[in-house]
Structure formats: structure tokens, C-alpha cells
């Protein structure tokens, strides 16, 4: 699989629908402090099934929905959609184009979709685990993780190795 396109709507600072088309090689994201770069990484982590708000730099899941600003009212829903190229059939689905979509509402409810068909979190997680897509700790390296890696205890360092086995 490779990532084709990510769309964020109401996710963190991306109040307006915003698309990123990724290159098969290296896509670089630049910008000033606080502009939303790490929020893109959080969006990817979230659409791939992350359930722990702390891994999204939030205290609770509701914090990921656009909280408003002096010029805009808060939104009621956050959505992320990720288009994957499955032409090598790593994901055990009969589609070559797969779109994962995730939504969260202020009410606390969540919705998951595979190619617009409603599904459960468990199905998405199982699907991605089978294909070794995005479920291990070293797939998304957050800000500050590399600087602190050497301080981890030996059992923690082993985790990355185990996920690669």
C-alpha cells in the first residue's frame, strides 16, 4: 500500500476541508511554529485507528475537534479520510483503491468507514494489522521521540524490534 491522499475536516486546527496528496517518495511539510504540521501527523495516526487521546496530544478525544477561535465557532465533528493505493493487494479487500474514513462527534460517538461503507473500529484495526500498515510504534515518529529514544528502558526499546519481527 501507499498513501495517496489525506483529507482533514474539523480535525484540530484544520477547520476547513484540507487535502494533502502524497508523493510515492518523500513528501515534506514545512511551516512556522503552530501552523498545523504536527496536527497532520496526528490526523494520520487518528484515521489509522489510534484510540488513546494522549497519543494525539489531547487530554480527551473531544480535544481533536476544532475548538473554535475568536473568529469561528467550534465545530461539532472532526473527520479524516485517507485514500490508500492497494494495487499490490496487501489489504485483503477486493478493491485497489481503499478509503478509510473516521469521524468523531462532540457527543463522544465515533464512526468508521471503509470505502464509504460503515464498519467498526475492530475491523479497521484487524485489516491494517494483517497488512502491516501503520500499526507499529515506528511508523509515525512524533516530535521529540527521537531525542528521547536513547533514554528509554531496554524493555521499551525492544518493542520496536518486536513489531518488526
Amino acid at each position: 500500500v501507499f498513501l495517496r491522499r489525506l483529507e482533514l475536516k474539523g480535525f484540530k486546527s484544520f477547520a476547513r476541508p484540507t487535502q494533502f496528496e502524497f508523493d510515492r517518495g518523500v513528501t515534506v511539510i514545512v511551516g512556522p511554529n503552530g501552523s498545523g504540521k504536527s496536527n497532520v501527523a496526528d490526523g494520520l495516526r487518528w484515521v489509522l485507528g489510534e484510540q488513546n487521546a494522549r497519543n494525539l496530544r489531547a487530554r480527551r478525544m473531544e480535544d481533536i475537534i476544532f475548538t473554535g477561535s475568536s473568529q469561528r465557532t467550534p465545530l461539532g465533528m472532526a473527520e479524516a479520510s485517507l485514500d490508500l493505493d492497494n494495487s499490490r493487494e496487501e489489504l485483503p479487500l477486493e478493491f485497489t483503491d481503499v478509503t478509510l474514513t473516521r469521524r468523531a462527534y462532540r457527543s463522544g460517538e465515533s464512526e468508521y468507514f471503509i470505502n464509504r461503507g460503515r464498519t467498526r473500529w475492530r475491523d479497521v484495526a484487524e485489516l491494517l494489522l494483517k497488512a502491516n500498515v501503520g500499526q507499529n510504534g515506528y511508523t509515525i515518529i512524533g516530535q521529540g521521540v527521537i531525542e528521547n529514544f536513547i533514554n528509554l528502558r531496554p524493555e521499551e526499546k525492544r518493542l520496536w524490534l518486536e513489531e518488526a519481527a
Partner: protein
């Protein structure tokens, strides 16, 4: 193609040495197993010796050297078990000019097998991108994507909105 832990351990240890010696221009490095003790599970420790130095504890390395060592370990894992994609959020923040060039060269090689999405402030890393997105925060505190550089254009086409790195 899931190997057992032992095969992965040996492959990653070998690759870790090769990335480490490439990054530091010599020296040696390997992984060692830490047997379980005091209730802790088995662990893995990185052992590294920069060129010309005595074998030392990683805590004596400098900030940039520790980051470079952690990146060598990460890249070794990606060699041993290529993940379809990998997101790196400012992993090059503490690297100096020489090391950031070595880092970006290694990235340019690895991206043949793994797709990378890289958040950075570093000019050398931008050079290896095929696609660059500039993100900025609007007056209304909403993130927006400013521009897209396709392969071959120089960063100057991005206009004023992207910081003059």
C-alpha cells in the same frame, strides 16, 4: 513473511551497524540483549562507539549524536522490515549541517521502498522532497495549505508564505 525474533534481532543489529558507521564516518555499533531481571522483561540495548572513541555508554553522547544514533536504529528497522510508509516529525531538529546532509541522503535511498512524510525546518531535508507542502495559520486561527511544489521547481516558487529557511 514474519521471521522469529532472533532473525530480526540479527538483521537489525547488522543494519544498525551499517547506518551508524555511515552517519558517523566510522566506529561501530550493535544491539545487545538485556536478560530479564527484577521483574522487568527481556530488553534490547544499543551499544555504539563513535570513531576514535572508547566504547562508552550512550548517555555520554551529545544531543545530536544521540538523535543520529536513534535514527540509525529506526532506519535499520525499516531496512529489516520495510514498512509501507513512515511519518517523521522533526527528527532532524538537533542535527548540524554535515549530519543533516547524511540524514537526507539516507532518506533518499530508503524512500525507494518506504514512502516518507517528513515534517522539517531543515533545508537539506527539503532538498530530497518530490513534493513540498507549506502550511500556515490564518488570521482566523485555522490552518491552511499554502502551496504545492511539484518535482523540479525550486522552493522559491512557494511565495512568501513559507518561512525563508
Amino acid at each position: 513473511i514474519h521471521h522469529n525474533f532472533q532473525t530480526t534481532f540479527e538483521t537489525v543489529s547488522h543494519q544498525f551497524k551499517s547506518y551508524f558507521t555511515h552517519f558517523f564516518g566510522g566506529g561501530t555499533a550493535k544491539l545487545v540483549r538485556i536478560p530479564p531481571s527484577n521483574g522487568n522483561e527481556m530488553g534490547v540495548e544499543l551499544v555504539a562507539q563513535p570513531p576514535g572513541k572508547r566504547l562508552q555508554n550512550l548517555s555520554l553522547l551529545s544531543g545530536g549524536e544521540r538523535a543520529l544514533t536513534a535514527v540509525a536504529f529506526l532506519f535499520a528497522i525499516l531496512e529489516a522490515n520495510p514498512s509501507p510508509f513512515c511519518v517523521l516529525d522533526e527528527v532532524d531538529a538537533s542535527l548540524d549541517e554535515t549530519n543533516s546532509i547524511r540524514f537526507s541522503q539516507a532518506l533518499a535511498k530508503l524512500c525507494q521502498r518506504t514512502q516518507f512524510i517528513v515534517i522539517t525546518h531543515n533545508r537539506n531535508t527539503m532538498q530530497v522532497a518530490n513534493t513540498i507542502y507549506g502550511v500556515s495559520m490564518g488570521e482566523d486561527n485555522v490552518s491552511r495549505v499554502l502551496s504545492l511544489r511539484l518535482e523540479g521547481d525550486s522552493p522559491s516558487l512557494l511565495g512568501n508564505e513559507v518561512p525563508p529557511y
